[in-house]
Symmetry: C2
Subunit: 269 residues, 2 copies
């Protein structure tokens, strides 16, 4: 048993899709979330800058005595192996859980990955999938407009600009006949309905944030590190820009009956 | 005569539209430009965070011994008066030059302003315009999708998503019958053709970055602070994220026959 909280971070609000799953799957675990809203987005920035920000995010969560750190940011997850972090507690990104789920789901051995420019450039999904099954063909596509579309509410399947851009991005996925598509950025689940509609019923969508939450459940159970309490005691959400701006998004991602404590924190801005 | 360089900064690459004008108008002036690409964008962030970043940007340019600082960022310009900066050298934003140009241009006393959320929230354009002529009606509209559209190359007048979103944003401007529209964010001139097409021929578009460059020309001439040389000696461009990512944009904004020195610098990241 381990009553310390689970630490989660993202460049901004996208990682709250992972928190939403954690709340469902692990209703008695305390959670500390950090969104680096003063420097969001990470996905269009350089590898070096992303790593430097991620180190600060991890340090912040460590200071909150968490028992594990979930990197609910596709972009940071893609540079995580190269960061070579020494840590007493486990630090897990979205890549491995998403890749495992996708490799189990695919029937025709053709997996697509959509993510930020930085993630696609890293090539990490291809490497991870081929290490499980070298016969799987991996098709990657950077979708830099998806985050602004989601953040500005252009998500409905009949939304003209969202549909046009999504069709443009997903054309290669249809052409390459993928039967499984990894949503490698934690913002993308907001576009699930639209993406499903374009890709068609036969294609399985894998939400990287949700898979990471499932991984946390399995990992804590396996190592007997679950909390010894009936109900969650605290859900602490930290942001690096204003609490007011962040709160609007928290409501949009988690609903408005969430009992969370939202605070501003300073990394090294 | 004053041979020190002109300092210019922006949250990212948008301010290069002002540099482009400076190069044309003041071909013998040295220029030092800073784009805070590691923390871009500013326009969706809080007033407090924007001010804190802007102070660091200004400090950086001061260390380069510039003779004047041009704030080629609509968002920072909108908080500049509230920052109450004590400085030996002049620090000028885009608001005043753009407002003067718009007030001269309007015939029906109806001016529109499009800009980032932070700029529109500040209400600064309304205040500045009414201080010149209280009879002018000012219509403001935040256009948060315009920066990602420009940065991802969705700018052509026949581009479906750009046109759809622009029509949505500009509807109020047509309804309110503005005859002059201030492009209050330095990214927006890339959408000039599209915006003109939607607004119609009778509407004057005022580019805030270009007006700021004209202001610099007038101000240096007036105070006899122009440089004493035939041709520019240096165009130094600094960014806070990788030079590689920045260079691509420099070419897109300034063309590829620009003789510029591009370096990465560190603020307090």
């Amino acid at each position: 048993m381990n009553n310390a909280a689970i630490g989660v971070f993202d460049s901004g609000v996208g990682g709250l899709t992972c928190v939403k799953e954690l709340i469902k799957l692990l209703p008695n675990e305390n959670i500390v979330y950090l969104g680096d809203t003063a420097r969001v987005p990470y996905g269009s920035k350089s590898r070096e800058t992303i790593m430097s920000y991620a180190r600060q995010d991890i340090e912040f969560l460590k200071q909150h005595n968490v028992k594990m750190i979930l990197v609910a940011c596709g972009t940071v997850s893609s540079v995580l192996p190269a960061m070579d972090i020494k840590s007493d507690i486990s630090i897990s990104g979205v890549v491995e859980p998403a890749v495992k789920a996708a490799c189990s789901a695919t029937k025709n051995n053709r997996i697509g990955v959509i993510a930020t420019s930085a993630t696609i450039k890293s090539g990490i999904y291809g490497k991870a999938i081929r290490s499980i099954n070298p016969n799987i063909k991996v098709v990657g596509k950077a979708c830099p407009m998806f985050v602004p579309l989601v953040e500005n509410g252009y998500t409905a399947p009949d939304c003209v600009p969202a549909r046009y851009i999504a069709q443009e991005y997903l054309e290669i996925m249809k052409k390459e006949d993928v039967d499984t598509l990894i949503l490698g950025c934690t913002h993308y689940p907001h576009l699930t309905e639209l993406i499903s509609d374009i890709m068609g019923e036969g294609v399985t969508l894998v939400s990287s944030g949700a898979e990471l939450a499932k991984y946390a459940l399995n990992s804590l159970s396996y190592s007997d590190d679950t909390a010894e309490r009936e109900e969650r005691e605290s859900l602490e959400l930290y942001c690096t820009d204003s609490v007011e701006l962040f709160s609007e998004n928290v409501e949009r991602f988690l609903g408005n009956n969430i009992n969370a404590q939202i605070s501003k924190c300073s990394l090294k801005l």
